[in-house]
Symmetry: C2
C-alpha cells in the first residue's frame, strides 16, 4: 500500500507559521485582510468560502465579502452588476487596509471575471487573475502569486520531502487553474515537465515513464493502473463525484495505490491545502507593507 | 540524408502574402510602420536590423529607428537615456501611424528593456515584451504576438506540412525567447510538449522518444546522434560559432542528418524566417485599424 500524502498535516504546519506571522503584523498595526467577491451562491463557491473563513479565522486574517446577484436580462441587469464591480475593485485597489482580493471563478458570465481581471491591482491579486501575475508565473520572475491550487501541489510535495529537481513529471491537463501553472512552478523548480492533455497519444505510457504524475483532468477515476508504475508519486488534483455519489479524484485510488510509492488522497490531499496557500498569499501581501 | 527544412522558401511565401496585404492597407490610406529601438551597436543587433529593413522594404513596411547610446556612469547617464526612452514610448503609443515597436534584447542594462516593457501599448508589442502579451501566450487567449523566433519554428513546421496535433515534442531550453514560448505555441496546437533543460536527467533518451525536437540551448553542436532516432523532425534554433569560426546550430548537423527524417539547417533554417514573422505582426497590427 502506497504512502498517503495527506494535506491536513501540511495545512496545519502552514497555518501555524502564518499565525505567528499574522501576530507580528498586528503588532505593527497591520491587520491582514482578504476581500472576497462572490457572484450568486453556487454550492462549490459557498463550500470554498466556508473553508477560507475557517482557515483565516484560525490565523487571524479578517475576511470581508462583497456579494453580487448572478444577473439576468430583466432583474439585476448584467451591466449594472459589472459597473458596481468596477467601483468596488477600484476601491479595493485604493484601500490600504485590504491586502488580497479573491473572486470565485468561473463566474456565471465571463464578463464578470474579465472586469475584475482587468482592473485589480496585481499586488492584491492573490489567485493569479491579472496579466501581471500570469506573466510573472510564465516567466518565473517571481512577480505575483500563483493560482492557489497549483501552488498547493508544490507545497504538498515539499512538505512530504519529495525533491523536484531533475525529476520527470507528467502533468495531465492544461487548464489555466492547474495544468499550465503547475507546469511552470515545477519547471521553475528544475523538474522536467511533460504537459499532457486530451490529444496526447500514448498517455498511459507517458505517465508510466514519469517519476511524478499530477492528475488534473476533471474526469473521475480516469488514471487507472495502466498509467502507473512502481516507485512513482501521484498527486490527484481532481474533485469529482462518482456513480455512488461519493467524492473521488481523477485517479482510481483503489487500483493505483497498490502499485505506486506515494499518492495523495481525495478528499484530504491537495484540496486540504488550498485555503492555507490563499492565506499565505494574503500574509505575504500584507508583509510587503512592513518594508 | 534527411530532408532539409529550409527557411527561405517559407519566408518568401510569407513575404508575398504580406506584400499583397500591405498593398491593400495602403489603398485604405494605412502605411504599415515599424519603430525600432536600438541601444548601442552590438553586431548581432545591427545584423538583425539590416535583415528587418530588407524584409520590410520588400513588403512595403516603413521602418523608423530610434538609437540610444549604451550609457555610462559619466557620459550619457543611464537615467537620462531611460527618461528619453519613456518619452519616446509614450509618443509611439499615442502615434496612430506606428503599428509595431521592436526593441533589440537583451539590452546592455536590464532597466532599458524594463522601461519599454512596462510602458509599451500591448497592441504595438510585436515581439512579446509586455505582461499582456506574455499572459496571452501563456493562457492561449490569442491576445498579443508571440516572440518572433518562437513563432518562426511553428511557421517553418507548418510550411513543411508537419502536423503538430498529438505529436510528442521535446523542447530543449526553457528561455523566455524560445523554450517557454514555443512550448506554449506547440501545446496550443495540441502537441504534447516536454520542456527539457540543463537539469533534465536522461536528456538523450527523452529526445530519442520524441517525434519532433526543438533545440534551443545555445550550445554549439550539443545535440548529437545519441539524441535522435529514425523518422524524427529536428528544428535547430541555435546560432553559434564553432571552433573554426563558422556559423553552426545547437545540433551536430553532420552526425544527425544521416539518421532523422527532416532537419532545419543553420544558417538557412528558422533564422531565415524571423524577420518575415516580425513583418507579419506589423501587418496584422495595422490591419486592426481597418475594422
Amino acid at each position: 500500500m502506497a504512502e498517503l500524502l495527506k494535506g491536513v498535516p501540511a495545512a496545519t504546519k502552514i497555518t501555524e507559521e502564518l499565525s505567528a506571522r499574522c501576530e507580528r503584523l498586528k503588532a505593527s498595526g497591520i491587520n491582514p485582510t482578504l476581500e472576497i467577491l462572490r457572484v450568486g451562491d453556487k454550492p462549490e463557491d459557498l463550500s470554498y468560502e466556508k473553508g477560507i473563513e475557517k482557515r483565516c479565522a484560525k490565523i487571524g486574517i479578517t475576511v470581508s465579502k462583497i456579494l453580487y446577484p448572478s444577473g439576468t436580462e430583466f432583474y439585476d441587469p448584467i451591466n449594472d452588476i459589472i459597473s458596481s464591480m468596477r467601483g468596488h475593485v477600484r476601491e479595493i485597489n485604493r484601500d490600504e487596509s485590504i491586502h488580497g482580493c479573491l473572486m470565485f471563478r468561473p463566474t456565471v458570465h465571463k464578463d464578470y471575471e474579465e472586469t475584475v481581471r482587468e482592473l485589480l491591482d496585481p499586488s492584491k491579486d492573490v489567485d493569479c487573475m491579472t496579466d501581471a501575475s500570469l506573466a510573472g508565473l510564465f516567466t518565473g520572475s517571481g512577480t505575483g502569486y500563483p493560482p492557489c491550487t497549483a501552488q498547493a501541489c508544490i507545497e504538498l510535495l515539499d512538505f512530504c520531502g519529495i525533491d523536484l529537481a531533475g525529476k520527470n513529471v507528467a502533468v495531465i491537463g492544461r487548464s489555466l487553474v492547474i495544468g499550465r501553472p503547475v507546469s511552470m512552478l515545477l519547471m521553475n523548480r528544475d523538474a522536467t515537465v511533460t504537459i499532457c492533455h486530451s490529444k496526447t497519444r500514448g498517455l498511459p505510457s507517458v505517465c508510466r515513464n514519469a517519476d511524478i504524475i499530477i492528475a488534473a483532468i476533471g474526469k473521475p477515476k480516469f488514471v487507472g493502473e495502466e498509467f502507473v508504475s512502481e516507485g512513482q508519486t501521484v498527486i490527484d488534483v481532481g474533485i469529482n463525484v462518482d456513480e455512488s455519489g461519493n467524492l473521488c479524484g481523477d485517479v482510481d485510488f483503489d487500483s493505483v495505490s497498490g502499485i505506486v510509492r506515494a499518492i495523495s488522497p481525495v478528499p484530504g490531499g491537495v484540496g486540504a491545502l488550498t485555503t492555507a496557500v490563499l492565506a499565505k498569499h494574503v500574509i505575504e501581501s500584507a508583509e510587503k507593507l512592513l518594508k
